[in-house]
Symmetry: C2
Subunit: 343 residues, 2 copies
């Protein structure tokens, strides 16, 4: 299958001052301690739980959420502990485990999904364990807002997952409902990581809110790029089969854009292909090609860039007159990174 | 199928001062407000989540856990809010939803299990929502020990569920491992309800510990009775098919007792029947009959009575010189109730 490159984001919107290498180095310097904390924190007297948890957690995740937690704490003038950064990776892993059962996913990050290796039953229960572990870690922090921010977040996440499930195969999914789904299933956790970093740092309400808004916008951009890449990447690049969203009946922005903006005959053709997928998954490449050819992917990247820009703008109230502190700079730089990443 | 009555517990161990009617009235006077709080608290902007949650929560549960929370708070000299009592019913419902998926249960409380009505995917995600809702409510309470007690509890619960899964079909399950499973999957939540009631009341550490110990012993007794009833009750009485534990490969105390205490030829016969079940569920009645005839059920009730007695004894340090307060009396009386209940 051909794997055309997605359009690069325009330089007008987001300016990078760091090279890709410099940014990577900064992120890795925080991902390392987060990884160590994950290993130390992930203890259970049931060895099987550790095995399944290890399988999902140490499978090449980018540690985006723990890194954002640590960066936000530093940008807010404090210092987060890698132990609490682990909260966000545990939560993320728990939702991946449950998602894979719901989606009947066969692969994840380039290898068999945990459920195909350990069974649905085990991954449901180990997911529950990881949820619980996250809350345990959050409950250690004396500032009451800390654990409340987490529970508010996970309640919305669960609602988002249910919404997504209810709209499976809904070819008429509205752009507003799509946005609601990606905000709740993806963006609120990224927002909570940033918000809780600021809370841990003892920041004032304005700073906490700015970092929350940053995380929310960044999370929306992140998910939109994910949804765009599903229409363009190859499995080799992306670690999981692409075109999977369509196969699973997930209607995302690239599809919605073409459905709503293209001429009637294109819309008709796209819906015809989409309706045929459940019986004949062989038409997926045609549907993908139509979405790409009609600018659905391009439009989605443009939307993602707009949200990445909004993420940067959310930080403006926190910038002083001089050069931003390195952690603040890294947060700013992650916005263009998120919309240029190709895996 | 015949449905022999289990042996009644001996009067030597546990003395009831209240009539069954009086006890029921006291419990219902707390279950009512707990029910109202459940309805008020269970709000989601996704109507489907409310529907599935309602289906599992308002299906005739006994509200044992919320009632124990409110009783413990009062016995510890304070007053619990029904809003927080809801925590324990939400958690319980969440575990039932996930359990039913793991067990592939068809029925629950005399009607189709939620998963057969709404699908596995929906009940996994609504279970996650209910977990999250419990933590949200717990995080409202300023005393830091409150939410920590809950997260400690749910971490152990998840471990217990995994242990139970790992020992599915393990005909050699040891009595010690059986006890570990029922403590973690059932008793720690009942213990946490009592403990958190005491914490909410602002009780000292000794009182908190006594009420925790009470709940733990009561929970063990409760689960043992459940496991015994699975060998004796009829579906009509019990709301779910009986003999289900054997059908699901769950080895419980009545079986373990006969396996370990009966003469070799009985043990041999029992294991033979148990091994045949996966291919031929028709032998379940024979296996049940053998367990009953060899005293497995009687032994289990005796063990349950011993734990119920331990529950009462855990409260002794909290009793003053005069008559116990009504809520303390109700806690004491619930111990004999738990081991004489037949549904």
């Amino acid at each position: 299958m051909s794997s055309p490159q997605p359009p690069a984001p325009g330089p007008e919107a987001l300016v990078s001052r760091l090279s890709a290498e410099e940014l990577k180095e900064r992120v890795l310097s925080l991902a390392g301690p987060a990884d160590q904390a994950l290993e130390q924190t992930l203890r259970s007297h049931v060895p099987f739980i550790e095995e399944v948890s290890d399988y999902i957690i140490f499978s090449g995740g980018k540690r985006l959420r723990p890194v954002l937690y640590l960066l936000a704490a530093a940008a807010a003038g404090g210092q987060g502990r890698p132990r609490h950064a682990a909260i966000f990776e545990f939560l993320h892993a728990a939702t991946l485990l449950h998602d894979d059962v719901v989606d009947e996913a066969g692969r994840r990050r380039g290898r068999p999904a945990a459920r195909t290796r350990y069974g649905n039953d085990a991954v449901i229960l180990v997911g529950d364990f990881l949820f619980s572990k996250s809350y345990s870690l959050a409950a250690e922090v004396a500032d009451h807002r800390f654990v409340s921010a987490l529970t508010d977040c996970t309640t919305i996440m669960a609602e988002g997952q249910v919404l997504e499930l209810l709209h499976t195969g809904d070819l008429e999914l509205s752009p507003a409902r799509y946005q609601e789904i990606i905000v709740s299933k993806t963006a609120v956790l990224i927002a909570a990581a940033c918000q809780m970093g600021a809370i841990y740092a003892g920041a004032d309400q304005k700073t906490v809110k700015s970092l929350y808004d940053y995380g929310l916008a960044l999370g929306i951009a992140f998910q939109m790029v994910d949804d765009a890449l599903d229409y363009v990447g190859s499995e080799h690049e992306f670690g999981k089969p692409v075109g999977h969203d369509l196969a699973e009946g997930k209607i995302t922005l690239p599809f919605i854009e073409v459905r709503d903006q293209a001429p009637a005959e294109v819309r008709h053709r796209l819906l015809e292909l989409a309706r045929a997928i459940p019986q004949d998954p062989g038409v997926i490449p045609q549907a993908k090609e139509l979405v790409r050819a009609r600018g659905g992917v391009e439009h989605t990247f443009a939307q993602a860039r707009a949200h990445a820009l909004a993420a940067q703008q959310a930080l403006i109230p926190l910038l002083g007159p001089g050069e931003p502190a390195p952690e603040m700079e890294t947060l700013l730089e992650l916005a263009p990174y998120v919309v240029t990443r190709r895996t």
